[in-house]
Amino acid sequence: MGSSSTFSWPYFYQYPPYFTRQPVKETADRQSGLWGSLILAYCKHHKLYVLSPSEDIPLWVNKDINRRLAPEAAVSFLDDLVAAGSALWLDGGAKARCLVLWRRLPDVAAAIASWAASYGMADSVMLLDELAAGPAVAGTELEGLHREVLLRALQVLEAQGKVKLFKGATPEEEGVKFL
């Protein structure tokens, strides 16, 4: 996983009723907002990109107060993040794997463009795998980027006319040309 410094939990994480989906709309809306922010902060801190609503992680399970967020509730809060453009379901209707965009795609795209500029990548071609990991991106903010995020950020750049994506015969041969 990512950073080893302690993650600081917000107040509501220690309060049992927040682990139950509230029936009253006003309270439920506020609850969803709080959980949405927590999900983004948690993923950002631990550099997590994919979440599963039923996995055994401290995000969904607070052992100190003996409460677990039910997967249906987690799905609901992730759905709200998706509606806000901060997450994507990777498996369509199954909703077992969610890509969490704790960094907005346009920001990731800008980071890639800036990296390309500072490393003089114009007219160069790279495999996507090399952009996600390897010596080219070691120590930069692109290192460790999840492939799904990388791909979608590059699609943003492609729409802006800054790169051209290539499909290879296999996923390993997918590449990008910086224009």
Binding site: Y15, P17, F19, T20
Partner: protein
């Protein structure tokens, strides 16, 4: 004097009683005038005192509370009017007016969290944060006085006692004795179940469900289905010990 029977004797008795009565009224009138004169002296002494200790009254909440008590004993209310002698003397009008505004803001800011019911200590802390570290400190007594002043203005704000705690209610709507009872019983643990409520308060299950549903709808209660025995618990954010954002 020997009383003699007969009409003359009766007439004399009436005359004597009349004399005593008018003498008594004279005494009363004189006493009243004396008291009024005394009060005038008290009040002017109080004014002199207030003027001399103005800085302490502003800066020290404990001293300020004692000053209020002294005023009350003499029958003077320095907060009676925003204008007038006392307001100018102490600047009290501004102080409590400002405090009123700040406490209403603090209540509104946390209303979503606690349904409009805020514990007095938590409110005082929130107001202090708003005032900043450089301003005069305020006590719970100050908050209560400011709330009373706001009530007079018809601000829809009220002081509610639940069990051993004091709460400021800033939402309209009825906080009836049933709701008060529920929260009083939940005060120690911060939560209660419908069953516990029924057995402790001796209410029918319908009555319990109704009050709990009302508290839920008003945002003063939240449900918790995650307890180990799966018993639904009702939690009250206003009873949380000072964890407001």
């Amino acid at each position: 004097m020997r009383r003699r029977p007969g009409i003359a004797g009766i007439q004399r008795d009436v005359a004597t009683r009349e004399q005593y009565r008018s003498a008594g009224e004279e005494v009363r009138r004189a006493s009243l005038q004396q008291m009024k004169a005394q009060l005038v002296i008290f009040k002017s002494s109080l004014e002199a005192f207030a003027l001399q200790h103005k800085a302490d009254i502003r800066a020290d909440p404990v001293f300020r509370a004692q000053f209020h008590t002294m005023c009350a004993n003499i029958g003077v209310d320095p907060l009676a009017s925003n204008k007038g002698m006392w307001a100018e003397l102490l600047g009290f009008g501004d102080f409590y007016y400002e405090l009123g505004v700040q406490l209403v803001e603090a209540c509104l800011a946390s209303r979503q969290l606690n349904g409009g019911l805020m514990e007095l200590g938590a409110l005082r802390a929130a107001v202090e944060r708003r005032r900043g570290s450089r301003s005069d400190p305020v006590s719970e007594d100050d908050i209560v006085r400011a709330v009373r002043k706001l009530k007079v203005l018809g601000g829809g704000i009220d002081i509610v006692t639940i069990g051993r705690g004091t709460y400021i209610r800033s939402v309209p709507g009825e906080f009836n004795t049933d709701k008060n009872k529920v929260m009083e019983l939940a005060q120690a643990a911060g939560y209660i179940s419908a069953g516990q409520l029924a057995s402790t308060a001796g209410w029918s299950s319908q009555r319990c469900e109704r009050v709990l549903a009302e508290l839920l709808k008003e945002g003063m209660a939240m449900i918790d289905d995650g307890a180990p025995d799966k018993l639904r618990l009702y939690w009250f954010p206003a009873l949380m010990p000072q964890q407001q954002q």
